[in-house]
């Protein structure tokens, strides 16, 4: 049995190696490829063809992969008759076009192979149990990267996935507070604002500062930081403000805490928009031209790591004391849990990750303006947490993808006046999408108070049981 597993592992590794080798080799082979495709210089006579080819080479030189592929597609499609496409060039063209996806597939196979060999040799239960989740996570990330290259980085699906990942991180950070510690805080947008601003302020390249801070003579801060350092700083900044506002506010009862944190977010917004702070925050104007992520993997990776950290925290002894505070404060205190300090910890950690979420949102939007971080944004995130299920991390993650996809993609058709033949569909005009959406939310809040997952987590065991039950017609449930 062991030999069989080992041979499979070896085969996987071999396939991975070939994939990685070929896609790496094809990476910058496009110019020679174009030569080989057009042996007898047909392009020289046909101006149109020459223009299309130059466009391909320009965008290739520019390094804009998205546009290169688009131009290449048009070039090969439009002039296929005068191009020679033997098997070797066809093979290389295929590898050039799908290079990244194939290399991602190769990486995944590599991880699967190592997991398999690990499974065979390891003894302790801990490693054996970890094998399957590791492979699943590798599959998720490879899948996202392959999807992105197949569907194109700026397609509707990828844009929604990027925003979904960012909202997942923020929803989980709010769930840590509202769902796990029972602190009803409405200040999430304020901490996201702080994170987004700190990230943007410290990463705008010095040469474009005069143009961004146009009214404040280039702004006060004349240095820039690497992206990751700025993101951590964004989280720390938000955490510091959380610690500051936590001092007076955390002793309050739940609904007063809600209003106090809501007030705090409004104060923060007014402060960041204040003209006097213009040289630092650019006042009411936009911050832009800071580095943004090119691939959806970045938000997925950052959100993934952060959510994993929060999950680890929740399953630790501190997480249990948070849940104790949620269930019964008096009993928790009687069991020796210092309420104030633990609430402060939960509040500061949640704001730290909200700050990082804010920085990611800034990169997604490519602009930062305090006006966007209104209490409406906090309500949106709160509703995601409720739909996902208070006290369920996987619920919040699933709900944020669903929420973003539904509100900003699937339900958009409700806004446009659609004609069924000559009959105009009633009700459908701009604004109806938001009405339909808020009705859906009310239904969830009123009748599915548990949300999708209630306070249970999506574990592989529960998934297989659920699928099993569906298969057997769910009789014995």
């Amino acid at each position: 049995m062991k030999a069989f597993k080992l041979s499979i592992a070896f085969l996987l590794a071999l396939a991975a190696a070939t994939l990685l080798f070929f896609s790496f080799q094809a990476k910058d082979s496009l110019p020679q490829l174009l030569e080989r495709m057009d042996p007898h210089q047909a392009a020289l006579q046909d101006a149109q063809m020459q223009k299309a080819r130059d466009r391909v080479l320009d965008s290739f030189a520019e390094g804009n992969r998205e546009r290169t592929l688009r131009n290449l597609d048009r070039y090969t499609g439009g002039f296929s008759d005068s191009l020679v496409m033997d098997s070797r060039t066809g093979f290389e063209l295929f590898f050039y076009e799908n290079g990244p996806s194939l290399s991602a597939l190769g990486m995944f196979l590599l991880v699967a192979a190592t997991a398999l060999t690990g499974l065979v040799f390891s003894r302790q239960g801990k490693w054996r149990r970890a094998a399957l989740p590791v492979v699943l996570i590798a599959a998720l990330y490879a899948g996202v990267y392959i999807l992105e290259n197949m569907v194109g980085g700026s397609s509707m699906l990828m844009t929604v996935l990027k925003k979904g990942a960012i909202y997942a991180l923020v929803a989980v950070s709010m769930n840590l507070l509202n769902g796990f510690t029972g602190l009803f805080s409405l200040g999430q947008a304020g901490f996201m604002l702080i994170g987004a601003y700190i990230f943007a302020i410290f990463t705008i390249p010095v040469e474009s500062r005069p143009q961004v801070y146009q009214y404040y003579a280039g702004g006060l801060i004349q240095f820039e930081m690497p992206t990751l350092v700025a993101m951590v700083l964004a989280g720390l900044g938000a955490a510091f403000f959380a610690w500051l506002i936590g001092l007076p506010v955390l002793r309050l009862k739940s609904d007063y805490l809600a209003i106090a944190t809501l007030g705090f977010a409004e104060i923060i917004r007014a402060v960041f928009q204040y003209d006097g702070l213009g040289p630092i925050t650019n006042g009411s104007n936009l911050l832009r031209r800071f580095p943004t992520f090119q691939t959806a993997l970045f938000p997925f990776a950052v959100a993934g790591v952060s959510i994993a950290l929060i999950a680890l925290l929740i399953h630790s002894t501190y997480g249990r004391s948070f849940k104790a505070i949620r269930d019964d404060e008096v009993a928790a205190e009687a069991m020796g849990i210092n309420l104030y300090r633990h609430k402060q910890m939960a509040f500061v950690i949640s704001s730290f990750f909200a700050g990082i979420g804010g920085a990611l949102l800034a990169m997604y939007q490519t602009t930062v303006q305090a006006a966007a971080f209104t209490s409406a944004m906090t309500y949106e995130i709160l509703l995601i947490v409720v739909i996902g299920g208070m006290g369920s991390l996987s619920g919040s993650v699933m709900a944020s993808f669903l929420f973003v996809a539904a509100s900003e993609w699937w339900l958009r058709f409700l806004d446009n006046e659609t004609m069924m033949g000559s009959f105009r569909v009633p009700l459908l005009r701009s604004g109806f999408r938001m009405v339909a959406f808020s009705v859906v939310i009310m239904v969830v809040v009123l009748f599915y108070r548990q949300g999708i997952m209630g306070d249970r987590e999506l574990s592989i065991a529960r998934l297989t049981r659920w699928l099993g039950r569906r298969g057997k017609g769910g009789r014995d449930g």
């Binding site: 009803f184 609904d255 809600a258 209003i259 204040y274 509703l383 005009r429 604004g431 959406f437 939310i441």
Partner: protein, 295 residues
Amino acid sequence: MTDFISANLPYLLAGISVGGQYALIAIGYTMVYGILRLINFAHGDIFTVAAYVMLYASASLPLYLSLPMTIAFTVFLGFAVERAAYKPLRNAPRMSIMISAIGVSYLLQNLMWYVTGGLARQYPTLPWISSTVSIYTATTKMVTLVTPVLTLVLVVALVQLINHTKVGMAMRAVSKDFETSKLMGIKINAVISVTFIIGSFLAAVGSMLYFSNYTAVTPTSGAMPGLKAFVAAVFGGIGSIPGAVIGAFIIGIAENIIKALGLTTFSDAFTFALLIIILIFKPTGLFGEPVHEKV
């Protein structure tokens, strides 16, 4: 001395007028919170719906018809919101009722956007209230004088109702102890409905005064006054009606004083800062009585 007065009189008048309007909304918040321990986030939006209904009604109906119709509609809306969104969650954890309130506010605002198209509309001029009048050196609208008077009259009437009628006693009982009043045979749902009806009635009257002074109506124009009225209710001591009224006047006047001092950028931020400070030093507000958690 006189130029000091004439320079600052307008601020004071504006403060009193807006304070009175906040008071009428704040009473709605205080009563609902006193009974259900719920911050009725949707209260500000019911206030805006009242303005829109008045606007649409007076476009086609004469005033003596559109006025009562608006009040009736707003009262019905308050009652319907309670029955649809809060009654099913009667014994749910406090957080889900509050989330339901946020959901209703979200729904009402989006509905208003959808129905009215969102362009700012002019509130109809009510005959006597919105005529201009001059006091000493400042010219202002009659509504600035009418508001405090009407507010005090309504508050006194309300306090009489609370203290000297059966329904009032039932409301006080329910606000003191929800479970035991249920045991004592008080029809809880009826009492809660009455509370929402009174709250919405005052919101309707408040919106008439407010929007004849500030005549542009948009779907979100009720959100900020609603929030400020809640701050006033907490400031005065949530659950106590006189507290809410006095809190509202203080917040209204303070807001205008800050603007007079030139710190206009932070006028709203200051109100929230005031709220946080009050919650720290006297969590139950000026007149609220402390609530003991039974162990």
